[in-house]
Symmetry: C2
């Protein structure tokens, strides 16, 4: 475990540019979507209508890069390890800083990330394979449609963790306590049932080993807006790079219910 302030400095300076799963245990993590104000209402409504994929932890004031409710000391233009830039639905660029792209009318949407409940899974002796294998979590496009809102439409993206069959229900219960970081799984088992044709070829992140006796468990993922950008083709959407999250100033457990 890396010391929090040290890591945050390394991220801010562009020195740490890797995925954030398993880093600074205890602090919630968040996905990022940046849009100009003209598209912000449609996207805010999209999040409201698709709470499991896009549970909002915070929305910045127009033009402000500070997520007051989850990171009053942060700047979302520099404080994520890696960003993606989508123009008219095409991924045009990856960068480690978006300061030069920031405009006065931009709004940052901070969406809960399932890395947040991985500590709770580990505490329940449920293994996190991508941490064990030191890779990014595997993520997949699905055939599950989101509810559209204004210009935004597209399908849900999921993250996948292999879980021993006998622990799949426990994994569901443990994560259901954290609805603001995607909550319970949306699917357990057969990948084809949700439109995933090859479990060994994730659309985002890395492949992980699925051992005998394990079942793939799928959680709604905050990369969904990136699939939505590709489908809806807004002029500009800036996001985190999948797996390269914003580390908030709030504790995982503060997001737990019951």
């Amino acid at each position: 475990m890396i010391e929090r302030n040290n890591l945050m400095n390394q991220i801010r300076k562009g020195i740490y540019t890797s995925p954030t799963s398993g880093l600074v245990h205890g602090y919630a993590q968040a996905n990022l979507v940046v849009l100009p104000k003209k598209d912000a209402y449609d996207f805010l409504l999209f999040c409201q209508r698709n709470k499991q994929a896009c549970p909002l932890l915070d929305v910045t004031d127009v033009g402000s890069p500070v997520p007051q409710m989850i990171g009053a000391n942060a700047d979302i233009r520099t404080d994520l390890p890696r960003y993606r830039v989508y123009r008219y639905g095409v991924l045009t660029e990856e960068r480690t800083d978006i300061t030069s792209l920031w405009e006065e009318d931009m709004v940052g949407f901070m969406i809960g990330c399932s890395f947040t409940f991985e500590d709770a899974l580990i505490a329940n002796e449920i293994p996190i394979r991508h941490q064990e294998e030191n890779v990014n979590v595997p993520m997949y496009q699905t055939s599950i449609p989101c509810e559209g809102a204004g210009i935004f439409h597209g399908n849900v993206v999921v993250s996948m963790r292999p879980v021993p069959e006998e622990q799949a229900v426990r994994a569901s219960l443990v994560t259901a306590r954290f609805p603001s970081v995607h909550g319970a799984p949306i699917h357990i088992g057969n990948p084809a049932a949700i439109g995933i044709t090859n479990i060994h070829k994730p659309d985002f992140g890395d492949q992980v080993t699925i051992k005998d006796g394990e079942v793939p468990v799928f959680w709604a993922c905050g990369v969904t807006p990136q699939a939505v950008a590709m489908a809806s083709k807004p002029a500009l959407m800036i996001t985190h790079a999948p797996g390269h999250m914003f580390i908030t100033e709030i504790k995982n457990e503060q997001l737990g219910v019951l």
Copy 2:
């Protein structure tokens, strides 16, 4: 219990114009806020930042009076028993139909109502005094500030139910299962601690008896936007009349977590 379709017809026709607590058991109820599109982003953000007071169940498309996700067969202009009209922060009118006020750019916000979890409280042998006394639930302005968003600011409004002291924790647990209809109480006990000077004079709804051995329990209330209208003074905000709710097409239990 009144038969659902019969009641919905009576409401639509303006025959039933009374509070809705305890009506058509099993169906979730919702608060209403109608605003022109120009104020809709600020209000949607206000709801996102104040989820306990303003948990959104649905937001209509611009100009549509149909809340697709919670009442695909409904029309929010006619299907609530009573409405209030706030102009520049002043309550100017109460009506039983807002069709003639509806404009093409209007947006309806449907906010979860705590009447939804009253069935669960009753199932736990926790009495609902305003139902027993056949009056509207008492509601109070508090000194608890909401997080502001754009033009909207103001204090939280709470509903109050007297609960036998030994059942206050149980009442908290039972209602915490329903975060989208305000969830757990925000305060138990001393009204003065949240700025309520006279528990016998509610700001909205009716007074109820608090018996010896009972403690007042306060839940965040979807009338909060009406206090916010009074504080923020938007040109126009149309709401339900406190206690006179929209009865959705979804079941209470569908909103329960864990």
